[in-house]
Structures are given as structure tokens and as C-alpha cells.
Symmetry: C2
Subunit: 393 residues, 2 copies
Amino acid sequence: MPENDLSRTVVNAVNAAEVAFSKFITANDTGATGAHQAGFYLHKSSWPLYFDEPGIRGSNKDKTVRIKWHDDFETESRFIYYGTGTRNEYRLTRFGRDFPFLRDENVGDLLVLCKMNAEEYKGYVLSSDEDIDNFLDALGISSPETNRLIKAEPPPDEEQPLLQQLFSNYVAGLDRNFPQTEEVADSARRLLMQASNQQLPDIRKAPDKEILRWIDAEYQLFRDIESDYYAEVISRPFENMDSFVQIANSVLNRRKSRAGKSLEHHLSFMFEAFSLRFKDQPKTEGKKRPDFIFPGEDEYHDLSYSTDNLIFLGAKTTCKDRWRQILNEADRIKTKHLFTLQQGISSGQLKEMRIHGVKLVVPKEYITAYPPEHRDEISPLIDFIGYVKEKQS
Amino acid sequence: MPENDLSRTVVNAVNAAEVAFSKFITANDTGATGAHQAGFYLHKSSWPLYFDEPGIRGSNKDKTVRIKWHDDFETESRFIYYGTGTRNEYRLTRFGRDFPFLRDENVGDLLVLCKMNAEEYKGYVLSSDEDIDNFLDALGISSPETNRLIKAEPPPDEEQPLLQQLFSNYVAGLDRNFPQTEEVADSARRLLMQASNQQLPDIRKAPDKEILRWIDAEYQLFRDIESDYYAEVISRPFENMDSFVQIANSVLNRRKSRAGKSLEHHLSFMFEAFSLRFKDQPKTEGKKRPDFIFPGEDEYHDLSYSTDNLIFLGAKTTCKDRWRQILNEADRIKTKHLFTLQQGISSGQLKEMRIHGVKLVVPKEYITAYPPEHRDEISPLIDFIGYVKEKQS
């Protein structure tokens, strides 16, 4: 009877693990690219999951382990480092026949690997949007922060010390209310641009990369605010379970609510940076309010305005199941563009989307996670913006 | 984009409230009984929500308040105590025209009223099974514990001090592992029977009442174990958000998992108490495993065994949306009995159920929460047991 059992099981496994890692399964992993035997590519930073030290260029290295999948069946699989020739990569291979998690339909699922101890590994694959979101929210991970160890420090980058300083100042200046999602999103973006010494022209050069950086920065700022906001209450003993659970609900509910609107805020800012005309949350039919209509709500309701020049854009961080929600959000516009942070979708789902007139807009670096035969149909954000600009010129 | 926003909003409101109250909306409330003007009957124990002291027999008393519903629109409504004549009851009335929460389809929804301060009230109505479960789980309330103030001490009853003592001894005897759901359910029932000096013949006299007492006792024992289990960790300062969130996830995930199987354990015990032949979690077609088949799995698969003597029973604490899940769980048995703790279902849904061959089995005292014209179709547990017994005699 309980729903969401799986995401809870996986959160518990990660919490009990020595080291844990997550990544979205790509078309390359499942072998849909035809380039090689199927297996999971693992980011270089994942080496503590299976080795005592990173692989060294010039030689290969491997380790065979037993992995228990979904607390059910085991595989004897192999972590391998390829360091010879031009290669420098880690993979997890050998799952035997009938392994159920390396099929086309697993593209876009979230793989979670847990090292429980030196001998014991657990593996899970989360498929539904809801399970994936619940898992990421519970652990406070943003979807661009996958493909790395869970709970590891984020890799330092150039502007990091300055940005961290700006974030600290910002947090110190807050009053005792937790700022609204939009305020956190805007501040994170503003401070990141300041730390990186960026102006709007810099943003316009690489919108696909920038929007991911904004999302990353926003999560980081959110966690800084959270740490400060709850610092006192979690450092004092709780009187009883009720008072503990009250704070626990407040923290976890806030994390779940956070992700909701921020993608839309960042997209709005981006469209403004490109001087596009648009309306967010426009009314269409009845009570329906899609995320964006270009150039605006008035034009949408002006039947003399050419339908050809109306553009629809939905925005969903994950959309493996949820893409259907946008289908009836604007009757006049047959083609539904959908911006998503989804790192890969199966070719079966992509065909369904095509039939229903859904066109994906995806940050450029994520497009390689999609099956090759569909990549042409997927626009990076910069191309989508160019398309809108042309219609509006 | 975020799911379950509503249940989280309501949990937050309850946590911020001075006093809060919840109840399942009944057919009587919505006026489906035709007996009176629509309005919510409130349990006598709810008086702190609106008065400084309980109503006194012999006179009426009322208070007009503004209630903000779903953080959206307000009503100027009236709490009223009827104490004259033979009456002794509290109601909440006056919502104006077009009030959306007193319709037939609201029967079985969960009403939550929060007194934020002397002047400010908030009201919410949760409709989906998922929202209702999320809400109750987050606050650690069992569904029989509704219709009272939230977080108030449960009313003391006769065996309470002895039962509390037995529970304390049980908890003190546990090792450092949290016991499994089935173990908690069995122990709570056993200790309750001991505290009440009951034997199986006593149980057989009133199965409808006993099963609710078991569920109540199980929740109480669960919370006792939980308090003990986490006592140390919540009394020490947490090092950082990560360590707090890890425990928060563990506590809340455990609460959500708890409810899952316990209803089935209690029903199994009850059927054994009546010496019924049954199989829980039998295999039917493919991978399907319904909750119960009478008299057993072998008979189900023996095509020479008369279909007339096969009985199906599903078990779901809430089933407003989820009842459809049982429809294809056993092809041979057209009539699907469904045991539920659901306190009321709209007549629209009940008609749908009838069309699909679903027959409800509901603890006797909850049947009055259902629309009168459907009560005949609903069996109390004792009648269902009698029906099975007859088939097996």
C-alpha cells in the first residue's frame, strides 16, 4: 500500500553507505549508440566507490564486486579503469543476461550505487519522475549535481572562494524569515554573475551553460541559508519526538517546495537577457496557465494574430512521465516546446513525444545523454532562443 | 511542478497553529442525509478550537470567525454549541453560496481546521488518498485518531495505565533494532488483549470494534518505540544539516512505511480468530498478489472448484482513488470485497464502485459516515466474516 517505497529505500541505503554515487543513465550506457558492450560510464570523481586511489594513466585497473540490485538479485560485476592509450575513463560492466536496467527504456532513469562496506554493494535504478525527485529532494541534490559522489564536496572552481564570500554576506544580512524561492534564485544568479565578473553579453554567449550554473549556484545558496536558518534549533536538544518531527517536516517540505518555480525564474531572466517578448504563466483556456507563451497572452487571445508566430514553452526539471501534462495547456499552439533538465529519455518515450507534437529544449551538454537518432530533434537553449528571436524580428 | 504541495502546506499550517483539528467529512456534514442545513459536525473534544471552555448543557453558545480556506478565499462562519433540549453537539456552519467543500464529492475528504490566533483561522480540505496519507503520516496520526484535536493527548480509557506499563516494558526489552511492522502490530494486539483481559471469544463478539482498537494500540506502541529509539540522537546537538536531514529522513520514512502492511496483519489475525480458511498475498494471474483469497490459493487455481465459493478481499486504509487498483487482481472472482478504514465516500464514487463489482467492508461505526442510500451495500466486518463462514461451512 505505501507509495514511494522505492525512493525511501534508496535514501536509507545512501544514508547507511560508506560511499554513494548517482547518475542518470544515458543512451551511451545502454549501448543504444552501438559503440560498445553495454555498461555504465562513471565520472572520474567516482573512484572512491571502488578503488583506494584514482586510476593512473598508462595502465588499466579493475575490481570485481557483488552488487545487490533493489535488495533482490545479485550480479558479479566489474569496475574498470581504462588508462591506456588515449583513454582515461571508468566503467561498471558485466551484469549477465536479462539484466533489467540497461534497456532502452532505462535511458533517463537515475542509477544509484552504494558501497555499504568493502565487500557489499547495493544498486538501485529509479524510474518515475516522482521517485527521482523525492530522492534528490530528500538528499538535497540538484539534478546537475548528479554524476558524482553523493554528499561529497562540490569541485572547487575559480570563482568559488569569492562566491562563497558573497553568499556568506548575503546570508548574514537576512532577517529571520526564510526568503522566497524567487528571491533565492535571483540572488544566487546575481551574486554568481558578480563573482564571475559577468555582464549580460557574457550570458548571451552561452545560455545553455549559464542556466546550469545558475541552478547549481541557487542550490548552493539555498543550502547556505538553510544551514544558517536552522543552525540554532538543531544545535539544541529536542524536547520530544513531536518537536523533532515538526522541524523535520519543515526542513524536508521546504526542500521539496524549493525546486518548484526556480527553473521558470531563471528562464524568465534568460529571455529578458535576450530581449525576447514573452509572458510567463499566461492564461490560455479555462484555468490553464502554461509556463511561457511567446510573444504574449494578448497575442494568444487575438485570433487575428498568426498562430505561426505563437510559441509555447513548458518547463519541467524532470519530464519522463510528466511531459503529457503540457499537451492540453494551449489549444492554439500545436507544437509544444518543453525545456527540461532531464539527462536522457528513452527512444520509446521520445517517439511518443514526437507523435504528440512535443519538442524538447535541453541544455547543450545534456543532449549527448539522449539516443543518437533523436538528437537532431532536440534543441539546445541557444537554438530555441534564436528561433523565438527570428519569429519576433 | 512540485507534487503534494497541498499536504505540505497543511502540515506547515498545523505546526504553526495554536490549536488544530481534523476530521473526515461525512455524508451528514454535506447534507446528503437531507436532515438539516449543511455544516461540519465537530467532536465535543474540539471546543478549545473556538471557545475558552466547553459548552454547558442547557444553553447554546456561538462564535463567528473568519476562516481562510486553502490560503485563498475567506468565509465568515459560525462555530455553534447546541446545548438545549436533548442536544449536546458542536457544529461549524455558514459558508455562503458556492462553498466548494460541502458537496457530495467531499464525503471522505479530510477537513483540517487551524486556529492560528484568536482572530485568524485557516481551513483545508484534502481530497486525494495520497494527500491524506502524507498529512496523517507526517503528523503521526492514525486514521481512527481523527475527529479530535491534533497533537492532543488521546483520551484515557480504562486499561490505559496497565497498557502503558506493558508497552513500556516491551520497549525496554527491545534490542537496538527497530522492530518490523508485523512484530509491532502483533505485540500491540497481544498486549492490548492482555491489558483488557480479553480472550479470543471476546474478540469474536465485536470484530469491528476490536480491529480499530488494535490499530490505535499499534500506533501508540509505534510512537513509544520511536520515542525510545531516537531519544538519544535528538537530545544531542546535530553537527550540521546533513546529519539532521539524515535522521529526519529516517524518522519520516519509517512513519510512511509503517502503515503499509499492518492492516493486513490485523485482518489475518482476525480471520484466524474466527477459524476461517484463507491465504494472504496469494498468487493469482501473472505477478498479481491480492491481499486475501478465501478459502485459498489452491482452490483459486483449481478450475473444478466452484467460483461461487471463492471470495476476494482487498485491504486499504484509504481508498478514495486507490480502489481501482484491486479490479484486475483476480480474474476468476467478479465481486471484489474491499476492507477500508475510509470514513465516508461520496455517492458518485460508490456508484462507480458498484458498477465495477466492488463491495465495501467497513468497521461498523464508520458506516454512518457514508451516504444513507448506500449504507445497505456496505458490510460491517462481522457480516463479512459471517458470509465467509457460511461459504466454508
